[in-house]
């Protein structure tokens, strides 16, 4: 009867205590995630309060940004953030769509993984590297070869011509949009590829069986099936572009004005903060910059939240690359 060890009450109590401590620690760490988001929101709002209270609604509608007279309005950075991000989406969506098609339908098996990893590595390159590359390599090329052509050919056109007028600065809104596009391509294409791979083979094979070409299968079977996930991926890319800081700071030119031309220098919310925050003197100046941060927080978090909700239905593991 002695082969079964008697239960030592002290040992059991020790085990129960450790269980409670460990379980409590994991729960506390998990709750810290929630606390962190709440903390960020409360802190930013508190820091932004003086600016919001002083300028009221006009903070959102004025273009002026003058630290000397303490007059601050967020319109130019908001405009720059939205225009550069939309430009980035416009350029990145078709390329990402193409990459996803190539990786899921076209590439031979041995090529899929290396090409997929190489595209994902574009996302691993730090944003400051995109910044110096954009400033020292891309901007001069655009200034010498691309922008003069845009000004000459598109400038005289009615309506859209206004977007391509003025001198070719090299740096500016267009350059920032292009750099952002390169940076978000890996995110959009990774999500699109992953949702394409969730399309059941039976659906595709049925279409092939009816005589559809590869393109018809993609456009009429794969895309409708994967639409929600694709939009989620695009929104995720948009969230990245809106909040991207260092790359934009290098190439946008940092001018607090709204130019009608895409070739003109501008600024974005994140670039303004990065450039001016450490040197800002005066409570109202600092608070106005934090208020810009609070606006950025609001915009990006809604975009990212919508994106994540759209992607929630998908298998989480299929999306581990983002």
């Amino acid at each position: 009867m002695n082969t079964v060890a008697a239960i030592d009450p002290h040992h059991a109590a020790g085990q129960r205590l450790r269980e409670r401590v460990f379980r409590g620690a994991t729960l506390a760490a998990a709750l810290l995630v929630l606390l962190l988001l709440g903390g960020v929101a409360v802190t930013l709002l508190a820091g932004a309060w003086p600016a919001f209270a002083h300028f009221k609604f006009s903070f959102l509608t004025r273009e002026i940004w003058n630290p000397v007279t303490d007059q601050f309005g967020a319109l130019a950075p908001i405009y720059g953030t939205l225009v550069t991000s939309l430009l980035a989406l416009l350029l990145a969506i078709p390329v990402s769509f193409g990459i996803a098609i190539f990786l899921t339908e076209l590439a031979p098996v041995w090529l899929k993984r290396p090409v997929g990893v190489a595209i994902e590595l574009l996302a691993a390159v730090p944003s400051i590297i995109y910044g110096i590359w954009g400033l020292f390599v891309l901007a001069p090329i655009l200034q010498r070869h691309v922008q003069p052509w845009l000004i000459e050919v598109l400038g005289p056109l009615p309506v859209i011509g206004r977007l391509f007028q003025g001198p070719p600065f090299g740096i500016g809104v267009l350059t920032a949009g292009l750099v952002l596009a390169i940076m978000i391509i890996p995110f959009i294409s990774a999500v699109t590829r992953d949702v394409f791979e969730t399309v059941p083979d039976v659906l595709k094979e049925s279409a092939y069986g009816l005589g559809a070409t590869t393109w018809e299968v993609i456009w009429q079977v794969v895309v409708p099936y994967a639409r929600t996930g694709m939009i989620g991926g695009i929104m995720l890319g948009l969230g990245r572009a809106l909040g991207e800081t260092m790359a934009v700071t290098f190439v946008i030119g940092n001018a607090h004005r709204i130019g009608s031309s895409l070739l003109a220098p501008g600024t974005t919310i994140s670039a303004s903060i990065a450039n001016e925050f450490a040197e800002a003197v005066g409570d109202l100046y600092t608070s106005s910059l934090v208020a810009l941060g609070a606006l950025l927080f609001l915009i990006t978090f809604s975009v990212i939240a919508i994106a994540r909700l759209m992607l929630l239905r998908l298998d989480r593991k299929a999306l581990s690359s983002v």
Partner: protein, 282 residues
């Protein structure tokens, strides 16, 4: 043209364009790496690793910046890593089915994609204002906040890969959950969790925006955590935009250094993950 010919032509065109799109993506990766190597290699010498950041016009290296980056990244991962692992453990084990876990997963995913400059502002308001000055510890905390969501996500994914049978066997032996988790599940998921840490290190070691107004920068050697500390990303930022050729050269070399380290970390992490996934499926 017949309808059939048009369909075939559309197909060929569309697929060719998708190949072109992929080539564009690969071209930019190649172009960036080529620029870094071409401009950065000239400054790669032993002085880069042995001398401090110089004043304009004289020669020097990046030793204090490299040291600062390593220190802040390490402290960041030492704070953010364990907390993230515990939180990931809750999501994968204790709270797997709890309603609050759905919310935590969602908020964590949002934090994962949050702009890092926002985190910088948050830590500035939280620590820098209260301490009264910029400091390395504030920079490390900002990096920890960015590393945490990455670790939460990878830990949960990796713990979920551990076969349920192993957990059941341990429970059947009379082990408490904490015992099962620390003695059975963690060892089984060890390499996956380490990979998660690698990815988190790769993510934070190139971050610039959150350090701009937390750690700031320091022209000199400093190992004081309560004082501003030099770090590679901010040095690259300042030196690249300076008019001095020797500073610009250091910026390029620093950029090459940081990018190579991050790419090596990411590729290593991916290789480990893919070998794990292959093992899991068999």
């Amino acid at each position: 043209m017949s309808r059939r010919a048009i369909r075939k032509l559309t197909n060929v065109l569309a697929l060719a364009l998708s190949g072109v799109a992929t080539a564009i993506g690969l071209f930019f990766l190649g172009a960036i790496l080529w620029t870094l190597i071409r401009n950065g290699i000239a400054g790669m010498s032993t002085t880069l690793f042995t001398a401090m950041t110089p004043p304009p016009g004289s020669s020097g290296g990046l030793l204090n910046a490299i040291y600062g980056s390593v220190v802040m990244t390490l402290i960041g991962i030492l704070i953010g890593g364990p907390i993230g692992m515990l939180a990931g453990t809750y999501l994968a084990e204790y709270g797997r089915a709890a309603r609050i876990s759905t919310l935590i997963r969602f908020v964590n995913d949002v934090l994962l994609s949050a702009p890092s400059i926002i985190i910088g502002l948050f830590v500035y308001e939280l620590l820098v204002i209260r301490m009264g000055h910029f400091s390395a510890i504030a920079g490390a905390v900002a990096l920890a906040i960015i590393a945490m969501p990455v670790t939460v996500r990878t830990t949960e994914d990796m713990l979920n890969l551990v076969p349920q049978g192993m957990k059941d066997a341990s429970t059947a032996m009379g082990a408490y959950p904490w015992r099962t988790i620390t003695s059975v599940i963690y060892p089984a998921a060890r390499s996956g969790m380490l990979t998660g840490l690698l990815l988190a290190v790769a993510r934070i070691s190139g971050e610039t925006a959150p350090l701009l107004f937390t750690a700031l920068n320091n022209q000199f050697w400093s190992s004081n955590l309560a004082a501003p500390m030099a770090n590679l990303p901010v040095v690259i930022f300042q030196f690249a935009l300076s008019p001095y050729p020797n500073w610009q050269q250091l910026a390029w070399s620093g950029a090459l250094l940081i990018t190579l380290s991050i790419l090596i970390l990411s590729i290593t992490a991916r290789l480990v993950v893919s070998s794990l996934n292959a093992g899991g499926r068999n």
